[in-house]
Amino acid sequence: MSVHKMLKPVVFIFCLLPLMMIMWQAFTNGLGANPAETILDAMGNWAVYFLLITLTVTPLRRLTGWGGIVRLRRMFGLFVFFYASLHLLSYIWFDQYFDWHEIVNDIIKRPFISLGFMTFVLLIPLMLTSNKAMIIRLKANWKRLHQLVYPIAIMATVHFFLMTRADFQQPVIIALILSVLLMYRLVVYFQKKAARL
């Protein structure tokens, strides 16, 4: 196989590493004193990291001129959904133990959970339309739909802020990186607008 063809499978394996790490640690008693919390947090964090990675693809292509990287964007996006699902599953199982009444109560009553829930719900249409058939079918609407990734990224970051108790270092770093990635879009948007005038 050429390097070209190897790229996707290799990156795919790398994207699975965070989960494999957690599983390895689970079997070797490496998740610390409170594995439920370790897993919930790790999956939430990786969902956000993959959001940032996904949003880095376009600027990176412009900066490096390497078009091939765009073929990885869909996979990164699907991994956002993958880790967000595991994050949600950890919450439903380890945190609430399938107590649906409590879960609904949480979603209604607690802003940080409400926001996390909405973020997850918004990810669903993006996941369902991340295939060639849908791109062809939705045409221009596909692009518009997938611009939901911007509010999703902002909401996920706010969710992170709202769950933080005292030490805001991590969500602040996430917010800074996200601002740079969003600023890039704004700049490109205004440049294009100016060029059209």
């Binding site: 610390g32 199982w93 133990y97 109560n105 607690r110 030490d167």
Partner: protein, 317 residues
């Protein structure tokens, strides 16, 4: 070593081993046992390591719940003075040296003063108290503390009629507590109790756990243990105890008055705004199993419910 532990009333002062001699002996015993172990050869650990408090009076207040492992107690800590991650304190408190240590006792009392920790602790009979420990975050442990009732100490200091509350303050020293370099909390950490809460027989000044001295990450050399309140009330590494007329402002209350009340009694019916307090994750139980029900006053209603009779616990949370 049982000769070291006697009830205070049957020890003549000439008999009392001074703390420094005691520690020298302890160090010696430790070294001896290490040397012996080395001689016997690794893998044949026939000698138990010498503990600081090998024989302790048991307490009627001790819980029969399964103890949390020492490893979990030492590796999962909320002690922001040594970092905000749960595993940070175990790493960052390694070089913390809690000796020598002095404690100031001041405010509305007849006998204020600054005391060397050894002199401060000496008058009291240490006992083992196995208590449930419920963190406000929703996890819990069962910890065999070593300590003495705070009431015993308070009586010695003769509070005046104005002493309505007791305030406790943690060491503030960025050199020794690296987490304090970042202002994640308004240092120094401060906590408080109403005087009747402080005098309750359950309230403990702890100087150890699992029969040994307090590990640094658990609040060496001396901390408060109030088992019917959320963990953050159990202030660590105390340098000051002040008797006051007015309600002290505790640190977490200062940064989150809607989330952390002065009382912070364990109460399954009063949610933290961001999560339910109905259940808790008992550390050491399989993570895929259901959490356990949280009990009112963490299961200590019999001893403490009367302190709050007539109070609206939703308002005074």
């Amino acid at each position: 070593m049982s000769f070291l532990i006697k009830k205070p009333d049957d020890i003549k002062s000439s008999e009392i081993t001074s703390q420094s001699v005691y520690h020298e002996r302890r160090e010696f015993i430790k070294k001896m046992s290490l040397a012996t172990t080395a001689l016997i050869g690794a893998g044949h650990l026939s000698l138990a390591e010498a503990k600081a408090y090998p024989e302790l009076a048991k307490s009627q207040f001790s819980s029969a719940d399964k103890l949390t492992s020492l490893d979990d107690i030492k590796s999962y800590n909320n002690f922001y003075e040594f970092g905000t991650g749960k595993v940070d304190p175990a790493k960052n408190a390694k070089n913390f040296n809690p000796k020598p240590w002095s404690i100031a006792v001041e405010g509305e009392i007849e006998k204020p003063g600054v005391f060397d920790l050894e002199d401060f602790v000496k008058p009291y009979a240490l006992e083992e108290r196995i208590y449930r420990f419920r963190c406000v975050e929703g996890w819990s442990m069962v910890i065999p503390w070593v300590g003495f009732p705070l009431a015993d100490m308070i009586k010695q200091f003769k509070p005046t009629s104005k002493a309505k509350y007791v305030e406790f303050v943690t060491l503030y020293d960025k050199e020794k507590m690296p987490g304090q370099a970042i202002r994640v909390l308004p240092w120094p950490y401060t906590e408080g109790l109403r005087i009747d809460e402080a005098m309750n027989p359950l309230t403990l000044m702890a100087v150890g756990l699992y029969g040994d001295e307090l590990p640094n990450q658990n609040g060496a050399p001396i901390r408060l243990v109030v088992p019917w309140k959320y963990g953050f009330k159990n202030i660590k590494s105390i340098v000051k105890i002040r008797f006051t007329e007015h309600e002290p402002v505790s640190t977490w209350h200062k940064i989150g008055p809607k989330e952390y009340g002065f009382y912070s009694n364990v109460n399954p019916d009063v949610d933290h705004p961001r999560w339910s307090q109905k259940t808790e994750r008992r550390i050491g139980e399989p993570f895929w199993s259901p959490k356990i029900q949280t009990q009112m006053f963490n299961g200590y209603s019999e001893q403490v419910a009367h302190l709050y009779s007539g109070m609206d616990l939703k308002r005074f949370f």
